[in-house]
């Protein structure tokens, strides 16, 4: 099974980060949330692998709030 890459993989991290923030420039929180959601969906489809996606979802959730309820499918 493929494993979520967590070693550095983005060639120019500062360039990417600047673009990520710039993508949200001038947007309300609500609009930004929509952009983020679209971004997640686009990237998730690009990855495709359900195992990698599951690892990314749980890594993102780690340490935030209490553990998600049930439905780990």
């Amino acid at each position: 099974m493929a494993t979520l890459k967590t070693e550095p993989n983005i060639p120019a991290p500062d360039d990417f980060y600047e673009r990520l923030i710039a993508t949200h420039h001038g947007l309300s929180d609500r609009e930004s949330a929509l952009v983020n959601a679209k971004l997640v969906l686009l990237l998730a489809n690009h990855i495709g692998d359900p195992g990698v996606l599951a690892q990314a979802l749980s890594a993102a959730r780690e340490g935030v709030g209490s553990a998600p309820q049930g439905e780990g499918r």
Binding site: R30, A33, L34, A37, K38, V40, L41, L42, N45
Partner: protein, 548 residues
């Protein structure tokens, strides 16, 4: 209503009111689509059945309107599919709109060569009326209107029911009780049995309008349309120029207020425009649940349809799954009642249909999560999917306005004989053990569709004369007989010969010359081989009837 007048079926004073009656083999509670399907199936098998219904007419209002291909195929076996199809509105295409744009279009039956369309829309009252009329053709079926079950006492070898009528109460003893009395199932409550699952916090207005319109015969679903902001809406055609309209209202809507014409009319005007000429036929406000009983069989009491499991309406998985319940149940009951299979065959009804119910509940729950997002982020993702769907194919697959009813594949049923030959196709749509038999155009002695030749009893479907006259005769004489239907090849004495006019039967069954499929009485595949062997077929029938 302008387009339909509910029939009134005559109440007749039951003889048990005057003298104790004999014990009945089967009593069915509820003359809805599911109870009637059960009764017709029993009647066709020559089993006397009494159907008790508290009312004396069919459904008031259109209620369940989408009947799926599998349900139509079952009705064909019950001898009333054609009327439903002739009166109903066939459709295969659905469109989903987000705000004022079309974002997604689906075709549920993209390939030709099937006897029945993906769906037929027909008001439940018509559907029930046709089933009542079909049931009345069987002497074995006795429909008792205005007969309300008020007490149930299960025994080890039967069930006693108390029935209230306009002339008083009487007792009715039966060997078996099939409970099809709907989602609120009074019989389930009398027995103290629960359902488990979720209730959803949302309300929907459902309205039937009579309107002459040139809207296409397609399922149209809107998310956040300009005429009904922040909510969803659905438009769907039924017979007689009646249209189903469904408006999501939100949990805070007042059901009593929303039912009033002065509240409904402005919503319809906003949707259909000022020029549309329409009349409201029926309206209701509903909430929904996704729940099921833990077990559908409790000794001699067997539950089917909404009494056993309920889902949201998105996906048309209510009546369609209820009809599959009875399709699964009745042949098993016949064998058990006749002493040709052990009682535990009926436990497989529970195993197979609770699993099917879980699949329906899962799909239905996922649809409601999309249609009724439960958090603002869930709503954001929903909008993100819809806004991507217009330009990106991947996002269209995520749009969920209801995953429409497909037949249950009983892949892990203990009644199946696992494949011995490794080279059979196993991908999506393959005729694996557990799958419902695929239809195909054929030429034969009666009718042009493969499915009309299989089912009722066990059927061995062979390709290119694999079964000789000895095999055909042996299987026909067994205690649980199996008839042979042969696709292509030279005629074999005793077998029905079909010609595969377009080669689609061979293709859909991944068949070679010699391939045989064993089909259950409910048309599900239960075994398949690359060559015929009488002892293998007999062993598979033994297994499929729990006689092992």
């Amino acid at each position: 209503m302008k387009t339909y007048t509910n029939p009134v079926y005559p109440y007749a004073r039951p003889p048990e009111l005057d003298a104790p009656g004999g014990r009945r083999p089967v009593v069915v509670v509820g003359a809805g689509p599911v109870g009637l399907a059960a009764a017709i199936d029993l009647g066709q098998r020559g089993i006397p059945v009494v159907v008790l219904d508290e009312d004396d007419t069919v459904s008031v209002g259109s209620r369940a309107i989408c009947y799926a291909k599998r349900a139509l195929e079952i009705l064909d076996r019950l001898g009333c599919g054609q009327r439903v199809v002739d009166k109903g509105i066939g459709w295969n295409v659905g469109k989903v709109f987000f705000r004022d744009e079309l974002v997604y279009r689906f075709d549920l039956l993209p390939e030709p060569g099937h006897g029945r369309p993906a769906f037929v829309n027909l008001q439940q009252y018509w559907f029930e009326q046709y089933l009542v009329e079909r049931a009345q053709e069987h002497d074995e079926v006795e429909l008792r209107w205005k007969n309300k079950v008020v007490g149930v006492a299960p025994r080890a070898d039967g069930v006693d029911v108390r029935v209230a009528t306009p002339d008083g109460e009487y007792a009715l003893a039966s060997d078996w009780l099939i409970v099809c009395d709907g989602s609120k199932s009074p019989v389930r409550r009398m027995l103290g049995l629960e359902t488990e699952g979720q209730v959803f916090r949302d309300r929907f207005l459902i309205a039937d309008i009579h309107m002459t319109s040139d809207f296409p015969t397609e399922r149209w679903f809107w998310f956040d349309p300009p005429f009904h902001p922040n909510q969803s809406a659905l438009l769907h055609r039924q017979a007689d120029d009646v249209w189903r309209i469904d408006f999501q209202l939100g949990w805070d809507a007042d059901p009593e207020e929303e039912r009033k014409p002065e509240r409904i009319l402005p919503r319809l005007r906003a949707m259909l425009g000022d020029k549309a000429d329409f009349e409201i036929e029926w309206a209701s406000v509903y909430t929904f649940q996704c729940r099921r009983m833990q077990r559908f069989r409790h000794g001699r009491v067997v539950f089917a349809g909404d009494a056993a499991h309920v889902v949201s309406p998105f996906g048309a998985r209510g009546a369609n799954s209820g009809i599959q319940d009875t399709d699964n149940l009745v042949w098993k009951l016949e064998l058990v009642m006749g002493g040709r299979a052990p009682d535990r065959l009926l436990d497989s009804y529970d195993a197979e249909r609770t699993r099917a119910a879980d699949e329906n509940i899962l799909n239905s729950t996922r649809s409601t999560d999309f249609i009724t997002p439960k958090s603002s982020m869930s709503g954001t993702f929903r909008d993100a999917v819809l806004s991507l769907a217009k330009n990106y194919a991947f996002a269209r697959r995520l749009v969920n306005s209801g995953r429409l009813s497909v037949p249950a594949i009983l892949a892990d049923s203990p009644l199946n004989t696992p494949d011995r030959d490794p080279d059979f196709a196993r991908g999506p749509g393959a005729m694996i053990p557990g799958a419902p038999a695929a239809d195909a155009p054929v030429a034969g002695p009666r009718g042009d569709w493969l499915l009309s030749y299989v089912g009722g009893g066990f059927t061995l479907l062979g390709f290119d004369a694999p079964v000789g006259p000895f095999g055909v005769a042996s299987l026909a004489r067994d205690r649980i007989p199996c008839r042979v239907v042969q696709v292509g090849g030279r005629p074999t004495a005793g077998a029905t010969l079909l010609e595969d006019m377009q080669g689609l039967a061979v293709q859909r069954y991944d068949a070679w010359p010699g391939t045989v499929y064993l089909l259950r009485p409910d048309q599900h595949v239960c075994a398949r081989w690359r060559e015929f062997d009488l002892s293998c077929v007999r062993a598979a029938i033994v297994r499929a009837t729990c006689n092992d």
